[in-house]
C-alpha cells in the first residue's frame, strides 16, 4: 500500500499544527462557533447529539494492521471502546471531546493518517473498489490513480468552499463495486481498443433528496489528462452550482439544469486551456505511485485444497461462510475473505477495540498485514492462502466476525440514525437490529440469496437507501413520531437503479413484517435461480405493493413509558433527540 514520503508527512504534520491552533482559538473564544464550524467540518468533526464525532479518512478503504491498531487505541483512549465503519470506507468515532481531537490527529499522523476533508463542502475522501488489485475481473488497478487524486484534492485551494460536498469514486473492474453511478464524479479506469489506459467519466450522480444516476460526460479521458479534466468539472461547478438552496446545491442539480451536453461544453471550454499544461500527469509519477501497489510475492499454489472440501462437508457454518464470505482471487491458491461486521443483533459497521486488534492480528498472520473497508461496512482480507482459510475462520469466529451473510438479507447498510445524528427523523440502528434478528435463520437467508437492504434515518441517504433492493427511509411526520418509507427496486453496480417508494409509510415495528411480505411475493413469483432484484424487474412493483397493503398489520406497538425517551441498551445515556 501507499507509504508517505517526507512531503506527505510534512503536509499532514502541518495540518495537525494548524488544526490544534484552530481548536485553541475556539476554546479561548477567539473564534465563534459559527466561524469554527467550516474549519472543523473540513476536518471531519461534527457536533452530534451527545458528543463530537470525528470521521477519519481511510483513502480508498485501504489500511494496514498498524493503522487498525491505532483505531483500537483511539477507541480505548478517547472514545467508548468502539468505532463505526462507514459506507464511504471511513471510520467514525462518536464520543469525543473537542479538546482531545488535536491529539487524536497527532496520533493518526504518526501512522500516516488524517481526517482531512472527510466532511464539509469540499472534495471528500476518494472511494474505490474494495477488491482492487485482487479481483478476477479487474481491467486496470484503480489504486494508483485513487492515490494521485487523493493528493491532488488534498487542500486544493480553489475547491475548499464548494456549493456542497463533492464525492469521487473510482473503479477498475468489469463489474462496478464502487457505486460510480451514485457519485458526483464516477471514474471507471479502463483500456481502449489500442490498449491505452483512460477513464470513463460520469458526472452528477448522487443520492440524497434527489437521487440521480450519473451521466457520462466523456467516454474516454486518457490517463494523462484526468487531473485537469476533473479540475475543469470542479471549476464549472464552483462557479455555477446553486448556493441559494442547500438542497439544490449538489452538482447533479447543475448538470440537470444545464443538460449534460451544455455542461460538457462548458467543462471542455475550460479544459482546453489546461490540457497538456503542467497539471498533466506524467508516466514517471504514475509509475512511482504504482510501485506501492505491485503484487506481493505470491507463493505458487493451486486451488481446491482437499482439506477445505472435507471441512466444508463436515461444517455447515463453514461451508455457508465459504459460499458467502470468501471470494475468488485472481491468483491460484489465494482467496479474498470478507469479515462480516453484521452479525445479527450487532450494530452494522461497529467494531470494538478488541475486535480491531484481533482483526489487525489476522491481517498480519493471514493477509500480508493489510485490510480494506468496504462500502457495505464490512472488512476485507484480500490475500489469504486458501490453505489458511480453516484456521482463519476458527479464529475470526471467536470474535463473531464470520456471520455468513455477505450480500444477503442481514448484510444491512445503515446510517447511525436519530440516536446520534441531528438530521435523522428516525432511528436506523435499532431497526437494522430488529430486522436482522427476525430473519436470522441462515437457511432462510441463503434461500433468499443476493439482496440488499439499506436503511437511512432521513432523506439525506447516508445509508444509501435509494440503491438498496429494499430501501428504508425515516420520514418526518407530524407529532415527530418515527415513520419509515419503503422503496423497492434500487440497485448498485453496472445495472444501477433508484428504488421507488411502494406507498404510505410504516411504523418502526411494522417494517420487519413489510419486508417479510415483500420476500413472500419473491418466493412465490421467482423463477429458478432468479435473484430478488431480477424478479422485481421482471414482474414490476404491483404484486409487491398489493401483498404488502392488502392485510392490516397486527403488530403491537413498542411499550415504553414515554415514547419520546427510548433507551437503547447498548448506549448508557438516555436517548433524547432534539428532533423528537
Amino acid at each position: 500500500m501507499y507509504r508517505y514520503d517526507e512531503y506527505d508527512q510534512q503536509i499532514v504534520d502541518e495540518r495537525v499544527k494548524q488544526y490544534r491552533d484552530q481548536v485553541q482559538r475556539r476554546l479561548s473564544g477567539e473564534l465563534t462557533e459559527e466561524e469554527f464550524l467550516p474549519l472543523r467540518l473540513q476536518n471531519g468533526l461534527y457536533m452530534q447529539i451527545h458528543a463530537y464525532m470525528l470521521r477519519i479518512a481511510v483513502p480508498y478503504g485501504l489500511i494496514s494492521s498498524k493503522q487498525m491498531r491505532m483505531f483500537a487505541h483511539i477507541a480505548r483512549k478517547y472514545d467508548r471502546g468502539y468505532g463505526h465503519f462507514t459506507t464511504r470506507q471511513n471510520i467514525q468515532f462518536n464520543w469525543l471531546k473537542l479538546e482531545d481531537t488535536p491529539d487524536i490527529l497527532a496520533d493518526l499522523a504518526s501512522v500516516e493518517m488524517h481526517a482531512i476533508q472527510t466532511s464539509g463542502n469540499c472534495v471528500r475522501n476518494i472511494t474505490s473498489d474494495e477488491f482492487a488489485g485482487v479481483a478476477q475481473d479487474e481491467v486496470v488497478d484503480p489504486r494508483p490513480y485513487a492515490e494521485i487524486l487523493r493528493q491532488w484534492s488534498t487542500f486544493h485551494p480553489e475547491f475548499a468552499y464548494l456549493p456542497r460536498k463533492f464525492k469521487i469514486a473510482i473503479s477498475g473492474g468489469k463489474e462496478d463495486r464502487a457505486a460510480v453511478y451514485a457519485h458526483d464524479i464516477g471514474l471507471s479506469v479502463t483500456k481502449n481498443a489500442q490498449g491505452e489506459i483512460g477513464f470513463r467519466v460520469l458526472v452528477g450522480g448522487g443520492l440524497g433528496r434527489t437521487p440521480i444516476i450519473g451521466s457520462e460526460i466523456c467516454e474516454f479521458v486518457p490517463w494523462q489528462h484526468i487531473l485537469t479534466y476533473v479540475e475543469s468539472i470542479l471549476r464549472i461547478y464552483n462557479q455555477y452550482g446553486r448556493r441559494d438552496n442547500k438542497y439544490k446545491a449538489r452538482i447533479k442539480i447543475l448538470v440537470k439544469a444545464l443538460g449534460i451536453d451544455e455542461f460538457k461544453r462548458q467543462v471542455e471550454a475550460d479544459w482546453a486551456d489546461l490540457k497538456d499544461g503542467p497539471g498533466t500527469l506524467t508516466s514517471e509519477e504514475v509509475n512511482r505511485v504504482a510501485t506501492f501497489f505491485t503484487d506481493p510475492a505470491y507463493e505458487k499454489l493451486t486451488d481446491h485444497d482437499s482439506q477445505l472440501n472435507e471441512f466444508k462437508a463436515d461444517s455447515r457454518s463453514f461451508s455457508n461462510w465459504m459460499l458467502r464470505n470468501v471470494k475468488a482471487h485472481r491468483v491460484p491458491g489465494y482467496a479474498i475473505v470478507v469479515l462480516s461486521l453484521k452479525k445479527p443483533g450487532s450494530v452494522p459497521g461497529d467494531a470494538t477495540a478488541e475486535q480491531m486488534e484481533v482483526i489487525a492480528d489476522l491481517a498480519d498472520r493471514y493477509s500480508l498485514g493489510e485490510l480494506r473497508i468496504t462500502h457495505k461496512q464490512n472488512l476485507v482480507l484480500a490475500d489469504v492462502r486458501q490453505k489458511d482459510l480453516i484456521r482463519l475462520w476458527q479464529e475470526a469466529t471467536a470474535q463473531e466476525l464470520t456471520a455468513p451473510n455477505i450480500g444477503l438479507l442481514t448484510d444491512i447498510i445503515s446510517c447511525p440514525g436519530a440516536e446520534f445524528c441531528t438530521l435523522a427523523n428516525a432511528r436506523s440502528i435499532p431497526l437494522a437490529q430488529l430486522i436482522a434478528e427476525r430473519f436470522e435463520d441462515w437457511d432462510f437467508q441463503h434461500d433468499i440469496g443476493e439482496i440488499s437492504l439499506n436503511i437511512s434515518g432521513c432523506v439525506n441517504a447516508c445509508g444509501q437507501h435509494h440503491i438498496g433492493n429494499i430501501g428504508i427511509t425515516g420520514v418526518e411526520k407530524k407529532d415527530h413520531d418515527e415513520w419509515y418509507q419503503v422503496s423497492l427496486g434500487g440497485a448498485e453496480g453496472n445495472l444501477s437503479s433508484i428504488g421507488k417508494i411502494i406507498g404510505p409509510s410504516f411504523t418502526f415495528n411494522q417494517v420487519p413484517e413489510v419486508i417479510d411480505r415483500l420476500l413472500q411475493v419473491y418466493l412465490r413469483e421467482r423463477l429458478e435461480a432468479e435473484s430478488f432484484i431480477d424478479t422485481v424487474r421482471r414482474i414490476g412493483h404491483a404484486p409487491f405493493k398489493e401483498h404488502v397493503y392488502t392485510t392490516d398489520f397486527a403488530v403491537a406497538e413498542e411499550e415504553t413509558a414515554d415514547k419520546h425517551v427510548v433507551a437503547p441498551a447498548r448506549y448508557s445515556v438516555p436517548y433524547f433527540s432534539p428532533r423528537f
Binding site: 512531503y7 502541518e14 495540518r15 467550516p38 474549519l39 510501485t291
Partner: protein, 177 residues
C-alpha cells in the same frame, strides 16, 4: 490596514458599496482612490477611466470576463466574499490571473479571516482586507500554515510531482535496479 505582499500596510482606498437608494448609473463616485462595484464601472466607464487611479470589485456571482479588455485600467481589483463559505471568489481570482492575465493588486474583501488566507494567496490574491473586528497581525499567520502543496494553482505553476524527485516504494525500486 490591510495585508499586502505578506506585510501589514496602511490602505487609502475606499470600497464603494451601494445602498438601496443608490443605482449604479446615478451614484456619485467620490474623488480619490475608490474601488467601485463592477456595475458602477460598467455604467460610468467613460468618466471613471479618466481618473488617474481607479479600482473595481466583483461580487461572487459576477463574472471576471466582464472586465475583459479593461483589465489594465485598474490599480486594484477586489473580489468580495459575502460570507466565509462562499467559495466562488477563489475561481474568480484564478480566472482573473490565469485566464485574463491580470497582474495588478488582487484584493480579497468582505468576510475575510485568517483561516482562508492560505488558499486565497494560492489562487492569486496578494492583498487581504481582513475583517476589522479581528487582529490583523494574527491573520498574517494564516499565510504560512503550510510549507508544501501538492497541486498547481496560480501561485505554483508546477504540481509537486514535477517539482521534486519523489521516492517510490523502496522495496520495488530495489528489485527493479
Amino acid at each position: 490596514m490591510i495585508i499586502k505582499n505578506k506585510t501589514i500596510v496602511a490602505d487609502d482606498w475606499t470600497v464603494l458599496r451601494l445602498n438601496e437608494q443608490e443605482s449604479a448609473e446615478n451614484v456619485t463616485v467620490a474623488e480619490g482612490k475608490v474601488i467601485v462595484p463592477l456595475q458602477v464601472w460598467l455604467q460610468q466607464r467613460d468618466a471613471l477611466q479618466q481618473r488617474a487611479e481607479i479600482g473595481v470589485w466583483l461580487a461572487s456571482a459576477e463574472r471576471p470576463e466582464d472586465l475583459k479588455g479593461d483589465i489594465h485600467k485598474f490599480s486594484v481589483i477586489a473580489v468580495d466574499f459575502p460570507k466565509f463559505s462562499d467559495g466562488r471568489g477563489y475561481s474568480i481570482a484564478y480566472n482573473l490571473r490565469a485566464r485574463l492575465g491580470y497582474a495588478g493588486e488582487l484584493r480579497a474583501i468582505g468576510d475575510v479571516l485568517r483561516d482562508q488566507l492560505f488558499y486565497m494567496q494560492r489562487v492569486g490574491f496578494d492583498a487581504f482586507a481582513t475583517r476589522p473586528d479581528r487582529n490583523i497581525e494574527d491573520a498574517l499567520k494564516g499565510l504560512t500554515d503550510f510549507s508544501e502543496v501538492y497541486q498547481t494553482s496560480f501561485d505554483q505553476k508546477l504540481p509537486l510531482f514535477r517539482r521534486v524527485q519523489r521516492k517510490g516504494n523502496p522495496v520495488v525500486d530495489m528489485a527493479n535496479e
